[in-house]
C-alpha cells in the first residue's frame, strides 16, 4: 500500500487540538488514520521537520502536511522517506561543516541540553564535525537524533473507500445504493450514500443538479451503472 496524499485530521475525542491525527490516502482512495503515538510517527517524519519549502519540495517526496494552528509538519509516505529527508539535511551544506555541538544548537535552538543527550547516547566527540564522521558514526548520530525526537507508534485505523455495486430504483429514481464494504454487501439509503460520498467514502462523484438536488455518478473512467436485474417488485429495478 503506497500513500499518495496526507492531511490533518481532527484530534481524537478528549485529546487536545494540538494532538492532531494524520489522514493518509492510498492510490485506491482508502484512508488510513494515525492517532496517538508520537508526532514523528504520525507524520512518518522521524526528524520532526516543519512544513517548509525544503521539507515539502519534490526532492524530499513529502505527500502533504499536518499540524495544528501553531505548527505544521511535513508528512512522508513512509519512515524511510522521512528518514532520508533528515539525513539529506544533515549531510547538506548547512549542517555538514558544523560540529555536533553547533549542529545541536541549530537543530534544537531552544534546548541547550540537546548536545549532552546526543553525546551521552553516541559517545561521540561534540567538537567533531558532521562531515568528519565515518559512515558508522554518522549512523549512530542520526539514530540518536531520531531517538531524541521520539518515535512511538500509536493507533492506525484503515478505512476503505467503498464501491457502489448496485442501485435500487423506484419509479425510475434511485432510492438505495448497494455498497461493497469489508463485511460484504450492504444496502444504504440515498441520503446515507450522499453523505458518504460527501465525506469521500465512496468511489462516486457527487453531482449538484441545477434544481438544487444531489445525485451520484460513477467516477470518471469507470463503468456506468448497468442494468442486470429487472423488476424485483412492481416499478422497482436493480442496477449494477
Amino acid at each position: 500500500m503506497t500513500f499518495i496524499k496526507a492531511q490533518t485530521g481532527p484530534a481524537n475525542f478528549g485529546d487536545a487540538e494540538s494532538k492532531f491525527t494524520v489522514q493518509y490516502f492510498d492510490e485506491e482512495g482508502n484512508m488510513t488514520i494515525r492517532s496517538d503515538g508520537k508526532r514523528a510517527w504520525r507524520c512518518n517524519n522521524p526528524g520532526n521537520l516543519k512544513k517548509s519549502p525544503y521539507s515539502m519540495s519534490k526532492k524530499r517526496r513529502a505527500i502533504g502536511f499536518a499540524g495544528d494552528i501553531n505548527d505544521e509538519y511535513a508528512v512522508y509516505p513512509d519512515h524511510e522517506t522521512g528518514h532520508q529527508a533528515l539525513v539529506i539535511m544533515l549531510k547538506g551544506n548547512i549542517y555538514s561543516p558544523l560540529t555536533l555541538k553547533q549542529a545541536s544548537k541549530k537543530y534544537v535552538a531552544s534546548d541547550p541540553d540537546h548536545i549532552h543527550k546526543i553525546v551521552k547516547m553516541t559517545k561521540l566527540d561534540p567538537n567533531q564535525t558532521i562531515k568528519s564522521l565515518t559512515d558508522k558514526e554518522f549512523e549512530i548520530y542520526w539514530k540518536a537524533i531520531e531517538e531524541n525526537e521520539g518515535w512511538e507508534e500509536g493507533r492506525e485505523d484503515f478505512i476503505q473507500r467503498w464501491y457502489i455495486t448496485g442501485v435500487h430504483k423506484k419509479r425510475g429514481v434511485i432510492i438505495e445504493f448497494l455498497i461493497a464494504n469489508n463485511d460484504g454487501l450492504t444496502w444504504v439509503s440515498k441520503e446515507q450514500a450522499l453523505k458518504l460520498a460527501l465525506e469521500g467514502r465512496l468511489h462516486a462523484i457527487l453531482v449538484h443538479a441545477k434544481n438544487g438536488g444531489l445525485f451520484l455518478r460513477p467516477e470518471y473512467g469507470s463503468k456506468p451503472f448497468e442494468l442486470v436485474l429487472v423488476a424485483q417488485k412492481d416499478h422497482e429495478e436493480v442496477f449494477c
Binding site: D15, A16, L49, N70, V108, A109
Partner: protein, 300 residues
C-alpha cells in the same frame, strides 16, 4: 549490664523510627482529581506557567494527614500558620512519559504512585508534592476504539472534505544562498523580549502539559525586518510567502551562547543590537520563521 540493655532498646527504637521514616519516603498511592493550577507570571519568568495538582479524595487525605504528623512540630506549626492545603498534592518531576499521560487525564479521577515530598515554601500553593512514577488507573471514560466501522456517524467525525493542496508556495523563489557562497553576517536591531513556548515532550501546548520553554526573541524594527526577509541563507531555506504565513514573523529567535544570557536578563524589553548568521526554521524546535545564530549582542 542493665544499662547496656537499656541502650540496646533505645538503639532498636531509633532504628525502628528511622525505618518508619524511610518507609514514609517510599512510594505512596494517591487518588483524586487531576487539575491544572496557574501561577502568576512576572516579567522574567523562571518557573513553569502552571502546575499539575491532585485534589485528593478522603482516603488519600488521611494518608497525607499521617505524613503531615510525621513532620517536626515546628514545621507543622509553620505550615498550619501558612494555611497548608492537605487536600491538594502537587505533581512534580514528571518524566516525559508520565507528563504525556497526565496531560491526557486532565480533570479525570486518577490513582497514581510515587514518592511523597514535604511541602516547599517556595511553591505558589503550599501543599505536599509527589513525584509520580506510575499512573495506576483512571476512571473509565468512553472508549471510541471499540466503535465499529459500520457506524457512519462515528466515522463522520474523522473525515474532512479533501482540499487540493496548493503548490503556490513551491513556485515562490527561495531565499537560498547559491552553493559555495559564504554566509552573510547581519546586524539587526529591535526590542528584546522573553517569550514562552511549549517545550518537550510534544512542543505543542503548555496548557496540555508540555514543559514551559522560555526563549529570547528580537522584535525587529522595520529596517531589520527588511534585512531578515531579504538575506539569503543556506539550505534548508524558506521563501517569503512561507515566512509571512507565521503569525510571529516579525520576531527573531536568538540562538545564544550561555554567556549571553545574563546580558539578556539585564536588557529585557530594551532595544538591543545583535550580530550573527540567519537561518530559517526547519524543525519542531524552531519557534519563529527566522532565527539567528548570535555571534555578538550589544546595547542599541
Amino acid at each position: 549490664m542493665k544499662k547496656f540493655f537499656v541502650n540496646a532498646i533505645y538503639f532498636c527504637i531509633g532504628i525502628f523510627a528511622l525505618f518508619t521514616y524511610l518507609e514514609a519516603k517510599e512510594n505512596i498511592r494517591l487518588s483524586g482529581k487531576l487539575v491544572k493550577r496557574y501561577y502568576p507570571a512576572p516579567c522574567i519568568v523562571k518557573n513553569v506557567a502552571f502546575g499539575w495538582y491532585l485534589e485528593v479524595d478522603k482516603s488519600s487525605q488521611k494518608e497525607i494527614r499521617k505524613q503531615f504528623h510525621h513532620l517536626s512540630k515546628k514545621d507543622q506549626h509553620l505550615f498550619e500558620t501558612l494555611n497548608i492545603d492537605l487536600s491538594l498534592v502537587q505533581c512534580v518531576d514528571c518524566s516525559d512519559e508520565i507528563l504525556l499521560k497526565i496531560r491526557s487525564f486532565e480533570d479525570a479521577i486518577i490513582t497514581l504512585e510515587g514518592k511523597l515530598e514535604s511541602p516547599c515554601l517556595s511553591r505558589k500553593y503550599l501543599c505536599f508534592s509527589v513525584a509520580p512514577e506510575a499512573i495506576i488507573s483512571k476512571s473509565p471514560t468512553t472508549n471510541i476504539k471499540n466503535a465499529s466501522l459500520d457506524k457512519f456517524d462515528y466515522l463522520s467525525r474523522y473525515f474532512y472534505v479533501e482540499n487540493e493542496s496548493s503548490e503556490e508556495s513551491e513556485n515562490e523563489p527561495l531565499l537560498q544562498l547559491p552553493e559555495g557562497d559564504p554566509e552573510k553576517l547581519v546586524t539587526l536591531q529591535g526590542r528584546l523580549i522573553l517569550r514562552l513556548f511549549p517545550g518537550p515532550p510534544e512542543y505543542t501546548s503548555i496548557e496540555r502539559g508540555d514543559r514551559a520553554n522560555y526563549c529570547w526573541l528580537l522584535q525587529m524594527d522595520e529596517e531589520s525586518f527588511r534585512i531578515a526577509t531579504t538575506t539569503l541563507v543556506q539550505e534548508p531555506s524558506s521563501n517569503l510567502k512561507s515566512i509571512m504565513s507565521w503569525s510571529n514573523h516579525r520576531e527573531l529567535y536568538l540562538s545564544l551562547e550561555e554567556n549571553m544570557i545574563d546580558f539578556c536578563c539585564d536588557h529585557e524589553s530594551k532595544k538591543i543590537t545583535v550580530k550573527g548568521y540567519l537561518f530559517h526554521a526547519h524543525t519542531a524546535h524552531h519557534p519563529t520563521p527566522i532565527l539567528i545564530d548570535v555571534k555578538k549582542i550589544l546595547n542599541y
